[in-house]
């Protein structure tokens, strides 16, 4: 019973924590531009993050060491350093985008000035990260992030022909506008397969003291949690496809998806959507700052962990605080958080191979994994996804330039 409860709570947190600002921006823009035609790409992305998160959790549970620790050992200093630099740049950009999203959501809820809410939002995130234990952080943000389910309610109220929606699950390419379609496909995959998620997941597994007995929890949490999280991505895309596409609205603001919910469910729906967005992006801001600190500490061999006292892991604590402060400075310069999100997702797509190749190698290495190394299914999927990741990495920036960031 206790284990069932643990799994259920983990799944709920994973659903609420699945959507971050990248998912929000790309799913809504994709739905408003191509209707349901990109739904199948969400499925591809969700399966990919399930495959690699399961590998990361398994590696952490068996080796008792997080992925980044092993990346340096397995790939050597130079390749490890390249991975570290790429991951830290992407983490910082993503954290800045999430911090901007927090301030924007707070502004839409309160009406207070954005520039005042940026430092206030960061201060709140710093205090929560400092005082709340790991499980509480994960679950509070995950559970309140479940308010995003209002998008699913709105989607159910809007759709009258589910056959059309289901057709979007069949892989397809539109007759025209191929480059923009590919740009959004790459963006959706980049938003689903963000490196910080796997680093955070694996470090969290070590923090939670996972061992071989937790492999089942790992598998169930990764599969069900991410699959149901993907359901929220569907809902975002469906609402955009039903409401914004017919009116020619190209969402460029964080408030636009919430406006869609208001249009269908009224003021209560609007407030729930904004609270859901606030906690989803707030949770992701914490995950990105911690992920950056985990990577640094694990690479340089510092003491690390949220479960350590701050004095026991001072460089780790200082790292996540500095990442938050740098993210705040980036947003304070006035860059549009939605634009930062688009760039962070695209640059993250470029850095994906550096994150996912070491995971695949280690999960397949009997020296680390013994009898728990990848089976045939995990290897076939892992290799297929790695090929896809390479294609995404190569095409991401050219597509962004050619399509002017999806504007056509």
């Amino acid at each position: 019973m206790k284990q069932f409860l643990q799994i259920a709570l983990g799944i709920l947190a994973a659903i609420g924590g699945f959507v971050d600002i990248g998912d929000l921006v790309f799913n809504v823009e994709a739905g408003a531009t191509f209707g349901f035609q990109l739904l199948w790409v969400v499925v591809v992305g969700v399966v990919g993050i399930i495959v690699y998160s399961e590998m990361c959790g398994r590696v952490a549970a068996i080796s008792k060491r997080p992925v980044f620790d092993l990346v340096r050992e397995r790939t050597g200093f130079s390749a490890g350093l390249a991975t570290l630099i790429a991951s830290e740049i992407v983490n910082l950009m993503t954290c800045a985008a999430e911090v901007g999203g927090v301030a924007l959501a707070l502004q839409l809820l309160s009406g207070l000035p954005y520039r005042v809410l940026i430092p206030l939002g960061v201060l709140a995130l710093l205090l929560l990260s400092w005082y709340l234990p790991f499980e509480w952080l994960e679950r509070v943000f995950g559970y309140i992030g479940l308010c995003l389910l209002v998008f699913a309610v709105a989607a159910f109220k809007l759709v009258d022909d589910w056959g059309k929606v289901a057709h979007g699950l069949v892989p397809q390419v539109p007759a025209t506008n191929h480059a923009v379609f590919l740009y959004f496909a790459v963006g959706l995959l980049g938003a689903a397969l963000t490196p910080y998620e796997v680093y955070f997941y694996s470090s969290g597994a070590v923090e939670d003291g996972w061992g071989p007995k937790d492999l089942r929890i790992n598998k169930i949490t990764a599969v069900i949690g991410y699959a149901l999280g993907g359901f929220l991505s569907f809902a975002l895309m469906i609402v955009a496809a039903m409401l914004f596409l017919p009116q020619g609205i190209h969402p460029q603001l964080i408030g636009t998806p919430a406006l869609g919910v208001a249009d269908v469910l009224g003021e209560v729906g609007l407030v729930l959507a904004l609270v859901g967005i606030l906690f989803a992006v707030g949770g992701a801001a914490i995950e990105t700052s911690f992920s950056g600190a985990y990577n640094l500490a694990q690479f340089f061999g510092w003491q690390w962990g949220k479960k350590e006292s701050h004095a026991g892991a001072p460089r780790f604590a200082l790292s996540w605080i500095v990442i938050f402060l740098l993210a705040m400075l980036i947003v304070m310069t006035g860059y549009d958080p939605v634009k930062i999100t688009e760039y962070s997702v695209i640059f993250s797509a470029v850095a994906l191979p550096l994150t996912f190749l070491p995971i695949l190698l280690i999960a397949n290495d009997p020296a680390y994994m013994g009898s728990h190394r990848n089976g045939k299914v995990a290897n076939v999927l892992g290799i297929l996804y790695f090929v896809l990741i390479l294609a995404i990495a190569v095409s991401a920036i050219p597509l962004m330039v050619i399509t002017n960031g999806g504007q056509g």
């Binding site: 740049i89 406006l259 208001a262």
Partner: protein
């Protein structure tokens, strides 16, 4: 980072081509349609006052950027009249969104703005199509 963002996203200013004019008209159309939806929701009590104020202000700023950019551009030969109409339409949308951001809970005004912005969206669509 600034360099990366600049390399990734910024464009330069220059002559306003037919394609660029269509893009700007499409942006105006999108902003007007979204403004109309927001005004309609505000009028029906479906959006909070704070949300309406802030979101309308963001849409207004975006419409202002379109108006400025169209106003400052050098239209390609044969596009001057269309560019002028597009700039003045973007300016009108900006002004209506500004009024919406200050409309508080005046639902009658919000209803009127919803209708005007819907008409602007149609006008922008026509303009983008070359009519």
């Amino acid at each position: 980072m600034s360099l990366l963002l600049w390399l990734a996203g910024c464009g330069g200013s220059g002559q306003l081509t037919a394609g660029a004019l269509e893009e700007q008209a499409a942006t105006s159309q999108s902003l007007a349609a979204e403004g109309s939806m927001l005004a309609g929701d505000a009028a029906r009590g479906r959006a909070t006052v704070a949300f309406t104020r802030i979101h309308a202000r963001e849409l207004r700023d975006a419409a202002g950027s379109v108006a400025t950019s169209l106003g400052e551009a050098r239209p390609a030969p044969g596009l001057a009249a269309r560019a002028k109409r597009a700039a003045s339409l973007a300016q009108r949308i900006r002004s209506e969104l500004d009024t919406l951001s200050r409309s508080g809970s005046d639902s009658a005004l919000q209803r009127r703005l919803a209708a005007r912005l819907a008409a602007d969206a149609k006008a922008a669509e026509k303009l983008g199509g070359g009519s």
